[in-house]
Symmetry: C2
Subunit: 327 residues, 2 copies
């Protein structure tokens, strides 16, 4: 099923312990679209300034992404972000944010973008998310991301937006903040109570957790010896996650399908952080994705075996055959 | 194989968002021994003050733990710790530490404790760890824990102690601090270079990662809606992990056995945090452990299926049969 995404398109200037880059191509829609394009057709709805060139557009076009709903605003400047990452990449400081044309962003959807059956509402003002959502009334799967800014400044709007989507993808800290519940599982269950069928809590280098009405699934991040730049990892995760779901045209997402989507999101994100910005994902190949999925499986799976548990004090070990060897 | 553990025996006064307790039974050796006792015989080497009563000893005895190497120091006071946990339990503040008899602790091992083939060196001064290690020259598996205090104050001693053990179990932040490497995988590999065959990075609510020369395994924590008190979770993890290994008398620990040990550590720790101090683990049953292990398996496993990946821009989805459906 084709996918429409709306969210920022940006130039990012980033410094990490491994180097720095000036004005790299970035933003939610770009990272999301590159990842999702491995699974299905993607339409990007967004805006850029006159400083956004054909070279940048070509990065998306080369992956088959439809860029016809990216509005180039005459005289405008593309959204710009500058940030510094700390020693272990777990903290980052925003040094500069220039909204540029993004400040007056009014998503305009072509018929093609409106016809998508899957929609990803990247992190923008929640009322804008709702306006886009309303233009795809027949979408079979709508996922939403947000951030602490909107939880602070527009919580009611955000909650209204969440009520209208199928899946919420947030950082675990944002889930806690949004619900006032300190525990991830409890916070996710609160959000499920608002309407969505699935909540994903992104946990950065630790992985991600999926919570549904009748299930829980937790997956660690793919282990890497060197993480160069985490910028866009969350959006790349969302692209892999939503992209995989889009390939299931039945529109019903079983626990098993959602788990596979978690695996795809985790795997795509692991490539994203290996280099700056979109550098790694731009040249990513399908066989590399498949190989890493298989590796992630090897690194996280275990078999159930009989545990030699002693229940009684002073007793000899008495094997407890509470479950059989199987995986 | 019988297990000997040395480390603190304590009274802990703890406040969390869910309540508080005064002078509960705690300390590394206690949490470790209660968990490990589900797997094999445990000898505790430690010291307490006159304030440590038979009721406390009985908590260990009821689980079959040998307490004959716990020295009760006349006129002394048991190690005491007071701490407050923050809103989400991820941060804690130490309000008071009174070493008491622990300050002059000189581990004295009986023949029975020296005869153990498995040794856990809980978090004490690294030279003391080495002295105990030297008394079990024929131990087939020695694991060690430590803390930031010793990394700061006795790094050379700690490194010497690590060189003499088979397995290091540390918080991931401690592994980073110890090695000066910001990346967990890279830090663990550095420590492997010093001699140990396995390094476990504990990640609190996010789980734990195992790194060996030829393997990596990552396991999320068991999801709980309410975590009441994390005190002792790491030591309980170690008790489950080392305890499981002790049941493998061949003394060779395959990747599969180490993974099972991670599962046992994770499962035992999940019970520990459900209530204050040792309250939950004191009344834990083997069948509850087995059931939760099976549940942890359900919550973390996924099957490999064919991914419908598109490698070419503009192309139709071309399924990539890079691996077959199997788990």
């Amino acid at each position: 099923m084709p996918i429409t995404v709306t969210g920022s398109i940006a130039f990012d200037s980033v410094r990490t312990p491994f180097g720095e880059r000036e004005r790299m191509l970035g933003g939610t829609s770009v990272h999301f679209a590159l990842a999702a394009s491995f699974f299905d057709a993607v339409h990007v709805v967004g805006c850029v300034g006159e400083d956004f060139g054909e070279a940048e557009m070509d990065v998306l076009r080369r992956r088959g992404v439809d860029v016809s709903d990216i509005e180039r605003v005459a005289g405008g400047k593309t959204f710009f972000w500058r940030g510094d990452y700390g020693w272990d990449l777990n903290s980052r400081e925003t040094l500069d944010t220039q909204l540029g044309v993004f400040e007056g962003f009014e998503p305009k959807l072509s018929d093609a973008s409106r016809a998508s059956e899957v929609l990803f509402l990247g992190n923008i003002q929640p009322d804008l998310q709702r306006a886009v959502r309303a233009q795809l009334p027949h979408a079979r799967m709508v996922a939403l991301d947000s951030m602490n800014l909107w939880i602070d400044a527009a919580k009611d709007s955000l909650q209204a937006a969440i009520k209208e989507v199928d899946c919420v993808i947030l950082n675990d800290a944002e889930l806690r903040q949004l619900t006032g519940r300190p525990n991830l599982l409890s916070a996710a269950q609160e959000v499920l109570g608002w309407g969505p069928k699935a909540v994903v809590g992104k946990q950065g280098e630790y992985g991600a957790a999926l919570v549904t009405a009748d299930g829980f699934f937790s997956l660690p991040a793919f282990p890497l010896e060197t993480v160069v730049d985490p910028t866009g990892a969350g959006d790349t995760f969302a692209g892999g996650f939503v992209g995989y779901l889009a390939t299931h045209s039945e529109g019903h997402f079983s626990d098993e399908v959602l788990r596979q989507a978690m695996v795809c999101g985790t795997t795509l994100a692991s490539f994203n952080v290996e280099e700056f910005g979109t550098e790694r994902v731009q040249r990513l190949r399908a066989d590399e994705i498949a190989a890493r999925v298989a590796e992630l499986h090897r690194l996280t799976q275990f078999s159930l075996t009989e545990l030699p548990l002693r229940d009684q004090a002073h007793g000899d070990p008495a094997p407890l055959p509470a479950f059989n060897a199987s995986s």
